[in-house]
Each structure stands twice: as structure tokens, then as C-alpha cells.
């Protein structure tokens, strides 16, 4: 299955797993040391980028799953996973110590197929006007970027802070879905519904927050592993 690299599997797999867990739970703490350890396991920059892409995508998909309340629908011989809903998130550092990801590392992925697909995805999610306005999308993305301690993106969206109760509701939704997706409940969507957001707007709210979580990790995974 692993085409002759079985002897590398344990250490390489362990390093990939460590990287995925850190980039998911505390993306601001990724350092060039993570990149060096992955490189020592034979993973080149294209493989690190691919690993980062998978982590980013699953930070999107898990948030969509958690916020939408879909049910598990695959057959598995493994025991049913019971999430620990009381788990505390990793404390966020002070803003002053949020890492800066250089602009050259905020480009879209180096492999063409993903870069094209990602660009089309982000344009649609962050820039369309319906069923959420651009301002509402930026408010959601700003809150998510701050939860990721993604200084560059948070600074870019710094003007987007809540101006009224309705916008505060979006901000709270984005913060919870970013920081503790495992705590999401039906009431979180119901609150947005009660504030007048139609059902497609709820899907877009989830998508904006989930995509910012993915994109911040994409930038930090690539940028902060580089020496």
C-alpha cells in the first residue's frame, strides 16, 4: 500500500500526525522546526503543502459538519466516536505575539489544480453579495481570523467589528464555530434564523467561517514551516 516506504511509516506518520494536530488546535504555534522535522522524514515542500491542504480542508469540513448538525452516515467497524464536548480550546496568545505570515506564503497552493479550485471557491464564499452581504461575510471572516491568531488577515479585516446586535450575533457565531466547533448546537443556527437570516444565509455563514479557518491554516502551515 505504501509502495516500499513501509520502514519509514511509523516516524513519518507520527510527524505528519503531530503537524496536523498542532496546525488544527494551535496554528499560531507552527514553527520552522515543524518543517525541519517533516523534511527529516523525507517530506519535501510539495508534500508539506499537500499535508497543509488536507488539514485546511478538514478544518472546513468538520466545521460544516458540526454547525449544520448532519449525522454520521458511513458504515464503520470502529466504535462510534464520542466527542468530548467539554474540552477546552487551546488558550490564544496575546495579539502582540501572533505570527506574521509573509505575503509570499499567503499565495494559493503551489499545485495548480488546487490553486485554481481554491481561488474559485474563496471568490464565491468571501465576495458574493447574496444571501449574505460582503460586510457580513467580512465580519464573520474577521472573527474567525482573530480566533486563528492570523495577524495578517485580522489586520486586513480590522475595520470589520460589530456595529449592532445583529452583527454581534454573527461575530459570536463565528467565534464559537472557530474556537469550539465541538460545542455547536441547533440553538446556534436558530439564533441566526430568529434574527431574520434565511436558510441559505445560514449555510453561507457557516461556509465563510469554516473557509477562513481553513485559509488561515493554509497560510500558517505553509508560511510558518518555511525556514
Amino acid at each position: 500500500m505504501l509502495k516500499g516506504e513501509d520502514d519509514l511509516l511509523p516516524a513519518r506518520a507520527a510527524e505528519l500526525a503531530r503537524f496536523a494536530a498542532t496546525l488544527t488546535a494551535a496554528p499560531w504555534s507552527i514553527t520552522p522546526e515543524h518543517g525541519a522535522r517533516l523534511a527529516a522524514q523525507g517530506l519535501g515542500s510539495d508534500a508539506i503543502e499537500a499535508a497543509t491542504g488536507v488539514v485546511a480542508m478538514f478544518n472546513y469540513l468538520t466545521r460544516v459538519a458540526d454547525a449544520s448538525g448532519i449525522e454520521f452516515d458511513y458504515v464503520s467497524p470502529l466504535p462510534v466516536f464520542q466527542p468530548d464536548r467539554d474540552r477546552e480550546p487551546v488558550p490564544r496568545p496575546d495579539r502582540a505575539s501572533w505570527p506574521v505570515v509573509p505575503a509570499e506564503h499567503r499565495r494559493l497552493p503551489g499545485f495548480l489544480a488546487m490553486a485554481q479550485a481554491w481561488r474559485q471557491w474563496r471568490e464565491y464564499v468571501f465576495d458574493t453579495e447574496e444571501p449574505l452581504s460582503r460586510r457580513e461575510r467580512r465580519l464573520l471572516a474577521a472573527a474567525a481570523a482573530r480566533e486563528c491568531c492570523d495577524r495578517t488577515r485580522a489586520d486586513e479585516l480590522a475595520d470589520h467589528t460589530p456595529r449592532d446586535d445583529r452583527e454581534s450575533l454573527l461575530d459570536s457565531f463565528a467565534r464559537k464555530l472557530s474556537r469550539q466547533p465541538w460545542r455547536m448546537a441547533a440553538a446556534d443556527l436558530a439564533a441566526l434564523r430568529d434574527a431574520g437570516y434565511p436558510e441559505p444565509a445560514l449555510l453561507h455563514a457557516i461556509s465563510v467561517v469554516a473557509l477562513q479557518n481553513a485559509e488561515s491554516r493554509l497560510a500558517m502551515g505553509r508560511g510558518l514551516t518555511a525556514g
Binding site: 488544527t24 508534500a47 488536507v54 448532519i70 449525522e71 449555510l203
Partner: protein
């Protein structure tokens, strides 16, 4: 039942029905075929917007053509889900 409204494959019409059909035609491992006739929940969660569904899963599809093999991608996605305390 999901908290967000969704449209099943059987109820879908027009652009959504076409998108569901295109997604069902993609090669996927047997383990990822749900034991029901509908689309997997994570795809159905995007069913209020066929365009969003198409653009989202174009990205996840592109990951299959990256520098990592299937087993390592599965490992990374499993660790990511577990770290987020998510069943998906």
C-alpha cells in the same frame, strides 16, 4: 435530521440535481459510500446552494492529485477531525 435545511438527492431538481449527479459520478473509495441512496451528509449540507457545493468539492477533489498518497491523507484528515472532536 440536520439542523440546517437540506434538499435530498431525490427531491433535487435543475442545477442541484445535475450537481448531485456529477458528484455521484466521481470515483470514491467504497468506504465513503453511505449505506443509503442519498448523497453523503457533508455534501447534502451544501444543498441549498449548488454553486457552493460544486466549488467546495472541487477543492477536496483536487487534494487527491497531490504529493501525498491516500494512506497519509487519511491519517492527516483523521487526526484533524479528532483534534476538532468531530465525527466527520
Amino acid at each position: 435530521m440536520a439542523w440546517l435545511a437540506t434538499i435530498s438527492r431525490a427531491e433535487a431538481a435543475g442545477e442541484l440535481a445535475e450537481t448531485y449527479a456529477a458528484m455521484a459520478a466521481r470515483p470514491i473509495p467504497e468506504a465513503y459510500r453511505p449505506p443509503h441512496d442519498d448523497a453523503p451528509g457533508i455534501i447534502r449540507a451544501h444543498s441549498l446552494d449548488a454553486e457552493l457545493m460544486r466549488r467546495t468539492f472541487a477543492v477536496s477533489g483536487s487534494l487527491h492529485r497531490s504529493a501525498l498518497g491516500w494512506a497519509e491523507r487519511e491519517l492527516i484528515s483523521s487526526v484533524t477531525s479528532r483534534t476538532n472532536q468531530c465525527f466527520y
